[in-house]
Structure formats: C-alpha cells, structure tokens
Amino acid sequence: MKAHIRKVATFVEETNTEMGRPINPPTRRAAAVAVIENPFAGKYVEDLSELMAIGEELGELLTLRAVAALGVPATSVESYGKAAAVGENGEIEHAAAILHPKLGAPVRRVLGKGAALIPSSKKRGGMGVALDIPLGHKDAAFVRSHFDGMEVRINDAPRANEIVVAVAVADSGRPLARVGGLTKDQIKGEDGLR
C-alpha cells in the first residue's frame, strides 16, 4: 500500500421525511473518508506522481467502503462525488494530484459505469475542516434531481502533514426534487452529460 493511512471513516445518511412529507423509499448516501500522511508536506516537490498513485489506490478502497456502507449492489449507485482537504503544510496541488489524474478510473470500475465527470471540491484547512463533497449523476451530469452535496468532517484531521480524501456515493437524488431539468429516465448515457 502506497498510502500511509491513519484512519478511515464512513458516513451513511438516510432521509425519511422532509418538511413533514414522507420520503419513501428514503434517500440514502454514503461517504468514505481516509486520513493519510502527506509525503510532500513542508516542501515544494515538482513531481507529484506518488500522490497520483495514492489517488488510484484510494479511489478503489474508498469506493468499495462507501458502497459497502450504503449496503446496496454497486450497480444501484446513481450519483458520486469526491473531495480532499490538505493540511496546512501542504498545497492545494497535492489535493489535485490525488483527485484528478487517477482516482476516477477505479471508482468507475467498482461501480460498473460512470460516463459523467466525477464532481469534486478541494481546500486547505485545519483539523475539523468541513468538506462539502459535490454529488452528481454518474452517467449524465445534467440530471438536475441528483445535483447535491454531502458535508463530512473528521474532528482530528487533517493534521498539518496530512490529507483527508473522500468519495461519496448515493442511490438516489435529493429528497423532494422538483426544480425540473433532465430526469434520470431521460438519460441517453452517451456523452456523460445527458
């Protein structure tokens, strides 16, 4: 294992009612979050390929954990997202190296498909910083009912020399989605957008 992992946390949220209206079946989403050592903390390093390899490894591990926590077959996952928070001795580019070059492929491999861009967010911050992981439909980015966000945080991370990396999956859209736009039954699934 390339990543030095200090801890892994999973979060599963289930919404049963909203504004007094029952949500049946409930909307459910899960996030898996790893706290890892930042091998490049405190110094400028030109070649970030080690972090890219860590991203590939975490893409698989975190997606497997998140799907297992959600308790559904991987093929039932409808939307996904990813995020990272770099501790104060690192740079935002470290988050980019983990998230963008190689993390996505294993996520899609675990889920079976995933034509759409995986929406992402990143920041630098101290311990307990909140990550708002963006969520979007995995096969068609324009599905409006599935635009969402999931807040996660770990009170003791990231320490200055750490990075927090998160993958979120959901088997449903927002609880009472009603602002129109492309619906999931209209997905063509060719270009990842519609």
Partner: protein, 194 residues
C-alpha cells in the same frame, strides 16, 4: 404520548490504525448512530414529558442494533459505549434527558447486560452543533484505557423543533493507550465500576 417521527439517520464508522505511533494489527473501530426526531414538546413548557421515554425505546433498540451491525454484527467485539443528545432551539435541556433511559438500556440490552453506566452528555444547540459523546468501558467505568470521546453532528440538524439523538460503541482502548489505571484484564465486573 406522540409517535416518534424520524427525519433522518446518520451512521458513522471510524477505523483508526495509528496516531503517530506503531500501527495496530487490530485497528480501533468506533461507530455512532444518529437519529434526528421531531421534538413533540418544542415551543412550550410541558410538565409531563416522562412518558416519551417509553415511546423512544424501539428507536433506541434499532439504533443499538444498527451499531452492532456497523461493527460487523458480533456483540462480543463491543468494549466501550456512550450516548448523547442535542436539543433544538425551541426545546429545553430536559428534553435531552429523555434519552438517558431508552438510549442507555437499549445498548445494555443488546450487549447482553453490560454492567457499567452509559456515559452521556447533552446540550441545546442549532443545526451543525457538534457533540463530544463520552465513551467508557461497558462493564467497568474505571477502565482508563477505554475513556474516550467521539465527536458527532449533522450540518442540517437539529432544527428548532427537533432533537438529535446519538449512541456510540467502540471495539477497544484508545489506539495508543498508555497512562496506566485499571486495565480491562483486571475487571471484577461486580459493581459496574471496577
């Protein structure tokens, strides 16, 4: 007494491999179950509230079972526990106290008659309030290695007329416990204290 209305649930599982020291072959796992319920007493002083404790019993049992499931389904791995509540702005701290009996006895029942009092905390607060749920050994409150706490919370709860209820279970001592005191191996198990 009113029916318990659950708006949403959150399950958190942490797996802690190390905290700067040697990695453990048996990582510490900590799980929290949160439920956001409607506060039937919000907005006015209600003198007689105690009957709501009975109404909360099924939810307590369901949350305790979900924690055991989140930790792998085997009750014998559970060594620590705790509970807590956050009451929304239109309620009072006494509403949080309603959780002591149904939350605590649910865990002790599911764990087969754990002997120690369930450590607890509570507060009144708004959405996003964080709660440090205290944790102690399930059979002997003085076991020093198992004194711990898990921070929990939800970005959108509790609303003013809600209560956030929490139960926590852990599988062992702090990851690098080394400050002496009563050890788990020295428990007499008669009085729930030592």
């Amino acid at each position: 007494m009113p029916e318990v209305q659950v708006r949403k649930k959150l399950t958190i599982v942490e797996e802690i491999f190390h905290e700067g020291g040697p990695s453990s072959s048996m990582p510490l796992r900590r799980a929290a179950a949160l439920a956001v319920i409607h506060n039937p007493f919000a907005g006015a002083f209600v003198k007689d509230i105690a009957g709501f404790m009975d109404d909360l019993k099924p939810l307590g049992l369901e949350m305790a079972r979900s924690l055991v499931a989140a930790l792998g389904g085997d009750t014998t791995v559970v060594e620590g526990y705790g509970k807590g509540a956050i009451v929304g702005a239109s309620g009072e701290i006494e509403h949080g106290a309603l959780w002591h009996v149904p939350g605590g006895y649910a865990m002790r029942e599911i764990l087969g008659g754990a002997k120690a009092i369930v450590a607890s905390t509570k507060k009144v607060g708004g959405p996003g309030t964080r709660l440090d749920v205290p944790i102690t050994h399930i059979n002997a409150s003085y076991v020093r290695s198992h004194f711990d706490a898990m921070e929990v919370g939800l970005a959108d709860a509790p609303r003013a007329d809600e209560i956030l209820l929490a139960l926590v279970m852990t599988t062992g001592p702090r990851v690098h416990a080394r400050v002496g005191g009563l050890k788990a191996s020295e428990i007499k198990g008669e009085d729930g204290l030592r």
